[in-house]
């Protein structure tokens, strides 16, 4: 990466927290399992009446998180802001409503208003309109790791100068109608969560110039495809994403004091991830944390893992339970998905000497 990329803001709307960097820190200090669905009243405080009527729920989550992130970063305006939104399922609820309209009432039941929401970029489009982001706006679709992937991609876009800054992260919502379908297909019973989490990434020099508060730094990223059947887990232990992310951060495997992994309760996938991490770290696998067991799996959690890694780098605390004290100014965020999408980010505290 050519420009150093720092994290200057977070906006998160999940069942456990609604707010910015401070809210995340407070939650991570005592992360308690919560009901997976966001209470109805939470969004009402973050979205105005017109948006509540006009936007789908998935879009409302994204818009709310975008506004929280922009405010948390203290961005005076969004000139030069790009968007990278990761999602596993997009606005599937609107897609099902659209199909049901036709199936129940024939051609007269087709909704022109719902149709745009059937395209997965609808959340990014709504967020771009809400905050006035006019540079590239990407939506990345991937199983399980879309949030982390969006942040890695956005960090690369900022580092290379494609955009001056980026709002990036993940969004997904729980769709109850899908659970029996996935069960019938033999999907693992991993707990699902929902929400939106977006981080503001900026070039370090620009952030310092505007006096921004730096809450973390993305020191290295890499994403690859690991060999696996579609929808399946792989047998190999491809560590290239980890190696390349560490190389970019000028770190060795032995320098990694802690890891946020993507363990979610999908036994086969979690086992594959342990194999990959084991191949990278050998017998000295550092302490690990994953937020999915307490928040439920969603693309938002992938993004929150990156924000949480920045918090760990600064606080020296790794969430549990139990909460653990760890050393080191930077650690690894790792995710691997069924089908083989593989992503690694090295996240630090954002101090001047982190990339010495």
């Amino acid at each position: 990466m050519t420009e150093r990329v720092v994290i200057t803001g977070l906006g998160a709307v999940t069942a456990a927290l609604g707010g910015g960097s401070a809210a995340l820190g407070a939650y991570l200090g005592d992360p308690r399992p919560v009901a997976p669905t966001i209470p109805a009243g939470t969004l009402a405080t973050l979205i105005d009446g017109a948006e509540a009527r006009r936007l789908s729920r998935a879009c409302q989550l994204t818009v709310a998180a975008a506004r929280l992130a922009v405010a948390d970063a203290g961005l005076p305006d969004c000139t030069g802001l790009g968007l990278v939104v990761g999602s596993e399922f997009g606005d599937l609820r609107s897609t099902l409503e659209f199909a049901d309209g036709y199936l129940q009432r024939g051609p007269s039941g087709i909704s022109a208003l719902l149709f745009p929401n059937t395209v997965m970029n609808t959340m990014a489009a709504a967020a771009a309109i809400a905050v006035g982001a006019k540079e590239l706006a990407l939506t990345l679709n991937a199983p399980e790791v879309a949030g982390e992937l969006a942040l890695a991609r956005a960090a690369r876009a900022v580092a290379s100068g494609r955009v001056a800054m980026a709002l990036a992260g993940g969004v997904d919502q729980i769709e109850p109608a899908l659970a029996p379908v996935f069960a019938a297909l033999g999907a693992p019973p991993a707990p699902r969560g929902e929400g939106a989490a977006l981080l503001v990434l900026e070039a370090r020099a620009s952030a310092l110039a505007r006096g921004a508060r730096i809450v973390g730094e993305i020191l290295g990223v890499a994403w690859r495809g690991a060999a696996a059947r579609p929808h399946g887990v792989g047998r190999g232990a491809d560590t290239r994403a980890i190696v390349r992310a560490l190389e970019a951060a000028r770190m060795r495997v032995a320098d990694v004091p802690w890891v946020y992994d993507s363990a979610s309760g999908d036994t086969a996938r979690d086992g594959w991830e342990r194999t990959v991490l084991g191949a990278a770290f050998g017998s000295s696998l550092p302490p690990r944390a994953s937020l999915a067991p307490v928040l439920g799996q969603s693309s938002a959690v992938g993004a929150l893992r990156v924000a949480a890694a920045a918090w760990t780098a600064r606080s020296g605390l790794l969430p549990g339970p139990p909460l653990r004290r760890v050393a080191g100014a930077a650690g690894l965020v790792h995710g691997i998905a069924r089908g083989g999408s593989h992503v690694a980010l090295v996240v630090g505290r954002g101090e001047e000497d982190d990339l010495a």
């Binding site: 050519t2 968007l83 596993e88 399922f89 897609t95 659209f98 199909a99 036709y102 199936l103 024939g106 051609p107 087709i110 909704s111 022109a112 149709f115 745009p116 059937t118 395209v119 997965m120 970029n121 609808t122 990014a124 489009a125 771009a128 309109i129 006035g132 982001a133 006019k134 540079e135 590239l136 706006a137 990407l138 939506t139 990345l140 679709n141 991937a142 199983p143 992937l149 991609r153 690369r156 876009a157 580092a159 290379s160 494609r162 379908v181 019938a184 297909l185 890499a222 994403w223 690859r224 495809g225 690991a226 060999a227 059947r229 579609p230 929808h231 491809d238 089908g339 083989g340 999408s341």
Partner: protein, 390 residues
């Protein structure tokens, strides 16, 4: 700055499988828009589309996965990328509908409408399925991304793949887009009153909307020095790419075309050339009254009135959604390689608001140095790719 060479092409279009069939159809000005056979269109505004004929591949895979796989395999073969080399090749796929056509069949049958759907098809519904299938079947294990930017997805995949090469992340990338016809897409555009009941007529004063199509196209992009060193055939250089967002409306383009113009200027800036150096624009050209008028306005803002040839491939193959940007990129590359600008068919009475020669009916022999391909999508997602002759 690392330069980006186009060294492989693959396409499956409404003219059939292969780049040769695609270019032959496009160069001849053949309209492949015919009555829909894949699903029932009773009660909808329109009943024509551009379907891919005689699609092969395992029927256990979704139609869109098969489209993607065939086009991706052709591109890799065309570029002579070996199995061993593919382990480090980036794979970027623009996608929208995923395997929705088959998931719809299951959902429709479950609701008592239609028969034959398979529950297992639901697995491949998501757009990311194409990339996972292509990677697994063809052994492509570099950085993998599925990009959804609506109707500009295929072009976005090329733009972001070029960035990965320019930044030195990879030396080679396989990038493109794929989409099959789906009921939901067809019904949605029908409900928005954006479909012409007859084959579409881009830039015609009497145009009434778009025609939907399906297909896939992939290109192999490669760091130019590496391509030259291995003696690869270089079709063109991808010299610039601009990506912008209107931030204006979820379905309607910004009326003044500012976002579109910004994408075109960004591509020119990255290529380091003046507008006058561009001789041809493969337009987004959907044939909706609004899009064509606003795109023409943006082209005029950037290049000047009548300053370049403009044509719409969609007049022949319809709007192939996520595949459109990559199929049109392939047409643009071949226009440079063959000194031939594809026509806009069904264009009888040029719209006076479109201040360009839109190459009606018959392809034009023209030597081009630079050409652009525009792709725009819902959400105001604008992508311009700029190719240079080699």
């Amino acid at each position: 700055m690392r330069r980006i060479a186009v060294t492989g092409l693959g396409a499956v279009s409404p003219f059939g499988a292969g780049v040769k069939a695609y270019w032959t159809g496009v160069a001849a000005g053949t309209c492949a828009i015919t009555p829909v056979t894949l699903f029932d269109t009773d009660g909808l505004r329109c009943s024509v589309a551009a379907e891919v004929p005689d699609l092969t591949g395992s029927v256990r895979r979704s139609r869109a996965d098969r489209l993607a796989l065939a086009a991706a395999a052709e591109a890799l073969e065309d570029a002579r990328v070996t199995r061993r080399e593919r382990a480090d090749v980036a794979l970027l796929v623009g996608a929208v509908g995923g395997g929705m056509l088959e998931a719809e069949a299951w959902y429709w049958a479950r609701a008592g409408q239609g028969t034959g759907g398979r529950l297992s098809a639901v697995r491949s519904t998501l757009p990311s399925s194409h990339a996972d299938v292509v990677a697994h079947r063809l052994g492509v294990y570099g950085p993998r991304e599925t990009l959804v930017t609506a109707c500009s997805s295929g072009a976005a995949a090329l733009a972001m793949a070029a960035d990965l090469i320019a930044d030195g992340v990879v030396d080679v990338a396989l990038a493109g887009g794929a989409d099959a016809l789906t009921r939901i897409c067809y019904m949605g555009f029908s409900a928005l009153k954006l479909l012409d009941p007859a084959p579409c007529r881009p830039f015609d004063r009497a145009r009434r909307g778009m025609s939907i199509g399906e297909g896939a196209a992939f290109v192999v992009l490669e760091e130019e020095g590496r391509a030259r060193a291995r003696g690869a055939r270089v079709y063109a250089e991808l010299a610039g790419a601009g990506m912008t967002t209107d931030a204006y409306h979820v379905t309607a383009p910004q009326p003044d075309g500012e976002g579109m113009a910004r994408a075109m200027r960004a591509a020119l800036g990255q290529a380091g050339i003046a507008p006058a150096a561009v001789g041809y624009a493969n337009a987004h050209g959907t044939a909706t009254p609004q899009n064509d008028r606003i795109e023409a306005r943006a082209l005029r803002e950037v290049f000047g009135e009548g300053a370049l040839l403009v044509s719409s491939t969609k007049s022949m193959i319809g709007h192939t959604m996520a595949a459109a940007g990559s199929l049109e990129a392939v047409a643009t590359v071949l226009a440079l390689a063959h000194d031939l600008v594809p026509p806009t068919v069904n264009l009888e009475t040029p719209d006076p608001d479109v201040a360009f020669d839109c190459v009606p009916g018959v392809a034009r022999d023209v030597r081009l140095e630079h050409a652009i391909s525009n792709s725009f999508g819902f959400g105001g997602q604008n992508v311009t790719l700029l190719f240079r002759r080699v």
